[in-house]
Symmetry: C2
Subunit: 725 residues, 2 copies
C-alpha cells in the first residue's frame, strides 16, 4: 500500500513545469505499465485485485497475455471433454490416463461402497470460476437471486396442480374410463399429478384428455380451464417473474460494474496526471495519453487514436482532465471503422487501361442495381435446380455453370472495388460469399475427380458440396433491406446469446453427468441392420411394449456424453419428454422421473425464460435506445472534422457505403475527398458488457465515480494535486 | 350547434353573483343532463358523437341505460349461438326458424352453385362493432398495425425454413432412410417443409429426427441447429416484435383516449362553469359539483363524494377550477372503499351478553392467529381425507364433521365481525367461503337424501359435491401472504385478460365456421359402447391406419360448434396438431393443411404472443409503477382528514384491516376512532382502460387538454367567460 503513495507523489516532483508536453520523461515505464493495466481492466471490465509493485504489475501483464488465456481455455476443454473418454465413453482411453480418478473411485468401490464419481459433476465449475467466466457468473448470480421469487410462484403453481389433480381424481376416477392402452384412467393420484404436470408442458395434449372427452364434452371444459390457468397464465407469470428479477439484479450488477470501471480509470488518471500550469485541476498530457493508448491497444491506427484524442481534448488544450480521461475506456470500446479511400491497385499499375472507356463501363455495370437483381435471379434459378433431381446429367452439369457465374461475380467485384476494402474485417457478406464459393469450387472439383477416377463417390464430400450449394442461397437475404435489418439485430445480440450458450453447456454438463451415473447402459441402441431381437425393446426387457421402444427412441440414452447432450436438447424442446422419462423410469425406478422434472424446472422454466427475457430486452434496446452520449460525441467529432462517410449512403449497410466510397475514388469523381474516413459501427457491441451497460445506461449518472464506495482503497487513489495545493 | 352556445351564455346571466353557492338555480336540468353525459362518457371512455339538443341528450341517456345494453348483449349471444342450432348442429331446430337463412342458401343451392354460407363467418363482427367492443376493436387495431413488422420476420423465418428444408433434402433424401412406419424419409421437398414447420412448434420432436439420428449422430446437430434458430430465436423474435409493436400502438391509442377524456371533461366544465367573483378564471360551485356527481354515480355515498370534493377543492374555496374539475372522471374511477365502523348488531341488541367476559374471550380466540392456523390444519386433513377412498364409511361420514367445522367457522366469524362488513363487496374470500360451504351443505344433504330414499346416487350431484369439497381447499392460499400477493396481481389483470378472451372467441368463431364448412361430417365419433367396425377409423375409410384414428381422435372434429371450439383449443395448445391436420387432410385434400397452418400463424404466433406480452406488461406495471399522482393526492387527503385505515394493518389485505377495525370498535377498545374510514383499493382497476392508462401514464402530460385536436368542434367548447371578459 506504500507503492501507490509513491506514485501519487510523482506529480509533485514535476510540479510547476507549465503545460506538460514533454511530461513523458517524468513518468517511468512502470507508471505506464500500471496505468495501462488500469485502463485495460476498465475497458474489459476485469476486476482482479493486484499488487501495484512493478514486479507484480509485470506479472499481472503476463497473466493478461493471450498465451495463458489460450492455455486456460485448453484446460477447460480438456477438463470438460474428459467426459468423452470416461466410462461410459465415446472413445475408450488406456486405463493409465484415468488412473488417478480410478484410484479414488476404485478405493471406494473396493471398500464395498456404491461409488459415484460425483466430482465429475463439479467439473464445469472451472469454467464458471475463471476470470473469463464473468458473464457466466453474473448469469448464475441473476438466476440465484431470482430463485426465491420463482419459488413462490412455483409453489402456487404446484398448489394449483395438486388441487386440479384432486378434482380430476374425484370427477374421473370412478367412471371406469380406460386409456387408449386399456389401462384404467385417472385412478391413481400420483399418476394424475404427473399427467397434469406433463400437460402443462403440453407434451401429452390432447391424448390425456381424450378418454374423458369421449365420455362427455363437459370434461373438456375441465382440461381447457386447467390449460388456461396452468399453461398459459402460470407460464406467462414465470416469464414475467424471471424477466423482472433478472432485469432488476442485472441492472444492479451493471451499475456496480460501471462504478468499478470509472474507479479504475480514475486510478489510472492519478498515476498519469500532472498539475496544470495555472495550478488548476490536474491533467494528462497528450504525449502520455498517446503512450497509454498505444500500450493498451497496440493495433490502433494513428488516425483512430487522434480522433479519440480530439473527442477528449475538445478545446484543443493539449491535455485532458479527469472527466475526459475516464471516458477513454468506453471510447476504446466503441468500434470505429476506418475507411481508407485508396485507388484500385490496377489503377495504380495500369492507369490507362483501368480508366479506359470499356473498363469504366464494366465498373458502372457492376455497381448498377441491375447487377444485384440479376444475381438474385441466378440464385433463385440455382435454388430450383438444387431442388430438382441431380441424377439428370443436364442438372448435374449446370452446377459448373453456376459455380462459374458466382466466381465471375467475385472476380468482377474485385476488379471494381479496392481488394483490401472488399475484404476488410467488417464485410461479413463478402467474406461469406468468397469462402463459400471457393470451398464449393474445391469440393466440387475433388468430388468429380474422385468420381471420374474410380467411379467412386465420397458421401462426405458430396454432403459438403450440397451444404455449400445451399448456403450460397443465403446471400439473397443480404440484398433485401428489411431482412438485413432483422439479421443485423440478430447478429448484434449474438455474443450475448453465446453467454447463454455457456450457461446451457454448464447446466447440461451437470445433468449429463448425473444422468450417466443413473442411467448408463440401461437402454441400448442397435444399428439399423442389426437382427438382434433385443433391438425391438432397446436391449432391456423392461422396455418391451412401452411407447419408448415403440417409437424407436433407443438412441436417446445416457450411454455417452454426446447422446446425453442430444437427449437433453430433446428434453429442453419438451415434446415427448414424458415418453422419454417414462422409459428411463421403467428401466430404473419411478423416482427417476424426478430427474426429468427437475431438469424441466431448471432448464425450461428458469433458463429458457431468461434467454427469452434477454432476447426481448436486447430487441427493445435495439428498437428504442438511441446512441449513447459518448457515441454521439464521437460522431459529432467525426462530422466536425469532415471525415464522416455520408449519412445517406450508410443505411446501416457498410458494404454499400464502402463500395460507394471506393467507387468514387476509383472512377476519379471525387478527388477532393479526404483519403481517410470514419464510421462508427454504431450499434455493434464489442463486448456483452457494453450491451448490458447500454441497456441500463439511462439510470447511470455519468459523474458518479464511486470513489466513496470502497473507501478502504483510498490510499491507492489519493489525489496528490489536492494535497500539494 | 346553437344549443351549446346558449349554454355557454348562461354563466353571463349569473355573473357578478359573488362566490356561487346557490348557483344551482342558474343551471337548468338540461345543463346537468348534458354535463353528466360528458362526465360519464369521460369516465367510461365512451366516444360517441351525439347532438347536444335536450331531446337528443335525453335519448342518449336512455341509450346508455342498462336495459338496451343487456338487450344488445342478448342479441350478440343469440347471433353467435345460432351456430349451435344450425346444420352441422348440436341441437336441430325446426326448419321454420332457420327459414330465412335457408332461403338464400337454398336458392343458391338450387341454382346448382356449391353454396357456402360465408355470412356466418362475419357474425362475430357484431361483437366487434358495438360500442362496448371498444377494447376488442383496439386489440384488433393493434394486431393490424403490428402485422407488417410481423410479416417481414415471418418471411425471413420462411426463408430459413425453406433453406433448411433444401439442405435436409440434399443431406438425407438419398440415404434410403425409413421412418418408423417404413415410409421413405425426407424424400419429398414439400413434406420436408411441412415436417420442419411442425418441428418449429416442437409437436413432432424428437420423432422427426430419429431416423436421421439413428443413422448418424452428426445429423442430430443439423436438427439441433434448426431448433435453436427457428424455434428458440425466431419465436423469441416474434414475441419481441409483437410485444414491441403492440406496446407502441397501444400507447398511441391510450394517449388519444386520455385526450378525448380531458376534452369531454372540459366541455362538461364549460356547461357548468360560473365566473368567479374577482373576475378570474371560471369555476364550478360545490352545489353544482355535488349534483353532477350524484347524477353520474347515483350510488355514491355522501362521505365518498365529500372526500372527492375535498381533493378537488384543496384550499376550501367552495368551488373548483378547470384543472381540478377535469380530474373528476379519473377520481370517480379510483375505487375508494368506505369502511363504516359499526357496532355489532348483537352488541346493540344484547350489550350485556355480547360484552361479557366469555363472549369477549370467544372474540379474542377467533381473531387470534392460532384460529387461522387451526383451520389451515383442518383443511389439510380434509384434503387427505378427500384423496382417500370414500367407500370407507368412516371417511364418508367424516365429510359431515368437516362441513360442521366449516359452518362453525363462518358462524363464529359472523358472531365476532360486523355482518355487513364481513359481506361487503370487496371481501372476496368471505363470499367465496360462505358460498362454497353453504352449497356443499345443500348438495351433500340432497345427495344423502337421494341415496337413503331410493338407494340411488345422482352422478351429477355427487360431482358437484366433489368439486365443492375440493374448491374449499383453495382457501388455504389466502392465508399465505406471498401467495395472496401473487393471486391479487392475477385477479387485477383478470379484466384485461377477458378482453383477450373476447378476441380469442371472435377468431375461434371465424375459424370454427370455416372449419365446419370444410370438414363437417368427414370424421364421425362413435360412442364408447358402439360395436360398429367403422369406429376404428372414425367412420371414414380414408382414416384407416392413420395416427389420427389410432390415437382415437374421432371426437376431435368440426361436426358442431362445440367440438370445433374444443378442437381449436387443442390446436392452440399445438401438441399433436400435425396429427390432427394430417387427419383432416386425409379425409379432404392435402391443401386442407393450409387451414391449420393459417390458424397456427394467426393464433399461436400473433394472438398468444400478444397475450403473453400483455401479461408481462401488466406484471411489470404491478411491480414497478407506484400509485398514480391522483391516487396519491386522494390518499394524502384521506390521511389529512385522519380517516385512513392504519397502514400497518393493511398489508394489502382488506379483510384483516376490516376485521381489526371492527374488532376494536366491537370490543370497545377504540371509541375515539372516527365512525367512517377510507381505503383506496389502490391497485385494483375498475376498467381495462384505467389499467392501460396507468401503463403509459408516465408519457402523458397532465396539462394537455387537446382542445386543438378537433378544432371543428370548437363551437361546442367555446369558453364564454373569456368572450364576456
Amino acid at each position: 500500500m506504500s507503492e501507490p503513495d509513491k506514485k501519487g507523489d510523482i506529480p509533485d516532483e514535476s510540479a510547476g513545469k507549465g503545460i506538460p508536453n514533454g511530461g513523458n520523461a517524468a513518468k517511468s515505464k512502470e507508471d505506464f505499465e500500471l496505468a495501462s493495466i488500469y485502463v485495460s481492466d476498465a475497458q474489459y471490465n476485469r476486476n482482479i485485485y493486484f499488487d501495484t509493485s512493478p514486479q507484480a504489475v509485470r506479472l499481472y501483464l503476463r497473466y493478461n497475455h493471450w498465451i495463458p488465456k489460450v492455455l486456460l481455455l485448453f484446460f477447460i476443454v480438456v477438463d470438460l471433454s474428459l467426459a468423452i473418454f470416461e466410462e461410459p465413453a465415446v472413445f475408450l482411453l488406456p486405463v493409465a490416463l484415468t488412473l488417478v480418478d480410478m484410484i479414488v473411485y476404485g478405493a471406494l468401490d473396493a471398500a464395498g461402497c456404491y461409488a459415484v464419481r460425483w466430482s465429475r459433476v463439479l467439473r464445469p465449475l472451472l469454467l464458471v470460476n475463471v476470470t473469463e467466466g464473468r458473464q457466466l457468473r453474473r448469469a448464475f448470480r441473476s438466476i440465484r437471486n431470482a430463485l426465491p421469487q420463482i419459488f413462490y410462484v412455483f409453489m402456487l403453481f404446484m398448489f394449483s396442480l395438486l388441487i386440479f389433480s384432486l378434482m380430476a381424481l374425484k370427477l374421473l376416477g370412478k367412471r371406469g374410463l380406460k386409456t387408449i392402452d386399456g389401462a384404467p384412467y385417472f385412478t391413481n393420484y400420483l399418476e394424475i399429478v404427473l399427467d397434469l404436470y406433463v400437460l402443462v408442458t403440453t407434451a401429452n395434449s390432447p391424448d390425456v384428455m381424450m378418454p374423458a372427452y369421449n365420455s362427455s364434452f363437459v370434461f373438456a371444459v375441465f382440461f381447457i380451464l386447467y390449460i388456461l390457468i396452468n399453461t398459459y397464465i402460470f407460464m406467462s407469470v414465470f416469464l414475467a417473474v424471471v424477466y423482472n428479477n433478472y432485469k432488476k439484479y442485472l441492472k444492479e450488477e451493471v451499475r456496480q460494474l460501471v462504478r468499478t470501471k470509472r474507479h479504475k480509470m480514475a486510478r489510472a488518471f492519478a498515476v498519469l496526471q500532472e498539475p496544470k500550469a495555472a495550478g488548476g485541476e490536474p491533467v494528462v498530457s497528450q504525449a502520455n495519453w498517446n503512450q497509454i493508448v498505444r500500450l493498451v491497444q497496440p493495433g490502433i491506427s494513428n488516425a483512430h487514436r487522434e480522433l479519440l484524442w480530439s473527442v477528449g481534448d475538445d478545446d484543443n488544450q493539449g491535455c485532458v482532465g479527469k472527466l475526459a480521461f475516464v471516458q477513454l475506456a468506453d471510447l476504446l470500446n466503441i468500434e470505429v471503422i476506418t475507411l481508407k479511400s485508396r485507388p484500385h491497385p490496377l489503377q495504380s499499375a495500369f492507369p490507362a487501361f483501368y480508366l479506359s472507356a470499356p473498363s469504366r463501363l464494366v465498373c458502372r455495370l457492376v455497381q448498377h442495381r441491375a447487377f444485384v437483381v440479376a444475381y438474385d435471379l441466378i440464385i433463385l434459378v440455382n435454388a430450383v435446380f438444387i431442388g430438382l433431381d441431380e441424377e439428370n446429367p443436364l442438372i448435374a452439369n449446370s452446377e459448373w455453370a453456376f459455380l462459374a457465374l458466382y466466381l465471375l461475380e467475385i472476380l468482377l467485384k474485385l476488379y471494381v472495388f479496392e481488394p483490401r476494402s472488399f475484404f476488410s474485417r467488417h464485410n461479413f457478406w463478402n467474406w461469406f460469399d468468397t469462402i463459400i464459393v471457393v470451398s464449393a469450387l474445391i469440393a466440387t472439383i475433388v468430388n468429380s475427380a474422385l468420381t471420374s477416377s474410380g467411379n467412386y463417390t465420397s458421401r462426405q464430400i458430396l454432403d459438403i458440396v450440397f451444404i455449400l450449394r445451399v448456403l450460397r442461397l443465403i446471400r439473397v437475404v443480404d440484398n433485401i433491406q428489411r431482412f438485413r435489418a432483422i439479421i443485423n439485430t440478430l447478429i448484434r445480440i449474438g455474443p450475448a446469446i453465446l453467454t447463454f450458450g455457456q450457461l446451457i453447456i454448464v447446466v447440461y454438463y451437470i445433468f449429463a453427468m448425473v444422468g450417466m451415473e443413473l442411467f448408463k447402459g440401461k437402454v441400448k441402441f442397435y444399428e439399423e441392420d442389426s437382427s438382434d431381437p433385443a433391438k425391438a425393446y432397446c436391449g432391456n426387457e423392461l422396455l418391451r411394449g412401452t411407447a419408448f421402444a415403440q417409437l424407436n427412441y433407443c438412441k436417446n440414452n445416457f450411454n455417452n456424453v454426446v447422446s446425453s447432450y442430444i437427449l437433453l436438447v430433446e428434453l429442453t424442446v419438451v415434446n415427448q419428454w414424458h415418453v422419454l422419462s417414462s422409459g428411463f423410469a421403467a428401466v430404473t425406478h419411478a423416482s427417476a422421473r424426478l430427474f426429468f422434472i427437475l431438469f424441466h424446472i431448471m432448464v425450461v422454466i428458469v433458463i429458457i425464460n431468461i434467454f427469452v427475457a434477454f432476447v426481448l430486452e436486447a430487441f427493445f434496446v435495439e428498437y428504442s435506445v438511441d446512441k449513447s452520449d459518448l457515441q454521439t460525441s464521437l460522431e459529432r467529432k467525426i462530422e466536425e472534422l469532415q471525415l464522416a462517410v455520408e449519412q445517406e449512403k450508410l443505411e446501416d449497410n457498410l458494404v454499400n457505403a464502402m463500395e460507394t466510397a471506393d467507387n468514387e475514388q476509383g472512377t476519379g469523381q471525387s478527388a477532393n475527398k479526404p483519403p481517410l474516413m470514419f464510421k462508427i459501427a454504431s450499434k455493434r457491441y464489442r463486448t456483452v458488457d457494453a450491451l448490458l451497460q447500454r441497456m441500463f445506461e439511462a439510470d447511470l449518472d455519468p459523474e458518479d465515480f464511486a470513489e466513496n464506495d470502497d473507501g478502504d482503497d483510498g490510499g491507492n487513489f489519493a489525489n496528490p494535486a489536492f494535497s500539494s495545493a
